[in-house]
Amino acid sequence: MIEIKNINKSFEGKNVLNNISTVFDKGKTNLIIGRSGSGKTVLMKILIGLLRPDSGEILYDNRNFITLPRRELKKLRTEMGMLFQGSALFDSMTVLENVMFPLSMFTKERKKEREERAHCCLERVNLADAIHLYPSEISGGMMKRAAIARAIALNPKYLFCDEPNSGLDPKTSLIIDELIHDITAEYNMTTIINTHDMNSVMNIGEKIIFISDGQKAWEGSKDRIMTSSSKELNDFVFASDLFKRVKAMENAGSPPAFQVN
């Protein structure tokens, strides 16, 4: 579980995040949604420690991320996995070497054991055939899957995903969403996904935090998002024609277009 309390962040006097507090549940896919420029990327960067908040607390299972001593912070970092928007695979390494990298850096396992673990992670994401290929030789979807395999190599407790579906076709997006969802349940991780893809929201949004103008404007689950009375959230959710039609169908009494699992 990750808890954030009164997070504030400003750049050159401009408030980007304003007093944000929430809890990201363990074993669930927690989604941060919002328009471009709403502050969700800044919040994600604060959560993973790439930016420091002006004030507030970040608690990883009651461990304060900001005040943690260096050694414990390093240990905590090995419990974190991250899936970047552009995958961020190391260009100079093959897919297998990319997945083995965190194992080589942070475990004392022998090479054979590290390879076995990497193979296991790559099989889990259905990428066993591409182990000797370089990132430049595989597709965007495969890169995301390789990045997921690297992120779970150390059995992390926390998984962060920044726009996991960006640049992917709808079908591949669905595969990546389901993979992240299944892995979250399997590893009992606290997963936080930064997205503005409404398909992902309706597919895997077990807990959703909507950020608007640097403030938490709404919090709930995917089954409540369609019936929310928040104007800002409705403007965001029903911005697309598809979702407007879904809303109209539901208002007209048709069966819900999205089945809630």
Partner: protein, 247 residues
Amino acid sequence: MIKALHDFGEYVLLMYRTISVPERWSVFFKQVLKEIFKLGVDSLWIVIFISIFIGAVITIQVSLKIVSPLIPDFTVGYIGREIVILEFSSTIMCLILAGKVGSNIASELGTMRVTEQIDALEIMGVNSANFLIFPKIVAFVCFIPVLAVFSMFFGIMGGYLIAWTSDVITAAKYEFGIQYWFNAYYITYTIVKSMVFAFIISSIASYFGYNVKGGALQVGKASTNSVVMSSVFILTLDLVITHLMLI
């Protein structure tokens, strides 16, 4: 001025993070070996090529300028050797390597920065500066003496080639000239100087590449800036080191 001081402070802080005990020695040595091949061994051919031709041209130029009957012919070999050993194989070669190696380092790190690969390392808990930059500095500083020695040898051989194949000077006189009044300390001076320059090239290029903000355009700019700044520092330090070691 304030910006220059700020940049210098950032450079010092980056070097402080860079020069620390590696996370895993085995990974570090592997990285150093890889960088030796990439930055050093891959630069050998250009060093040899340039040295042969510059050595040959120096011999022709000097022989054409020495017209006085009071100056013996072997002076061509002597001057050629002094130029090659004292300045060419360290300073000029490092200026050339600032273009090849410096831009390679800056663009590699810059691309890693804009594609979030450096962020990925940081999130994993890896000291990215130490992991990425330190092996490059160690590899280049350790391998530069090899490049300098190759440059000296092939520079002098370039002149010898001209002595053999043309009539600007006889091979025997050139041979006598390159052995005349030889001071072995100059080799030490050249190697020390080239090692300092190697540190300058690799650390400045790393600084510019590591701190890229933006996209492809900024990566190119960082690469250019690293070459310009390295050249400025190489020439400045050339004067300082020469003053300290030769006067």
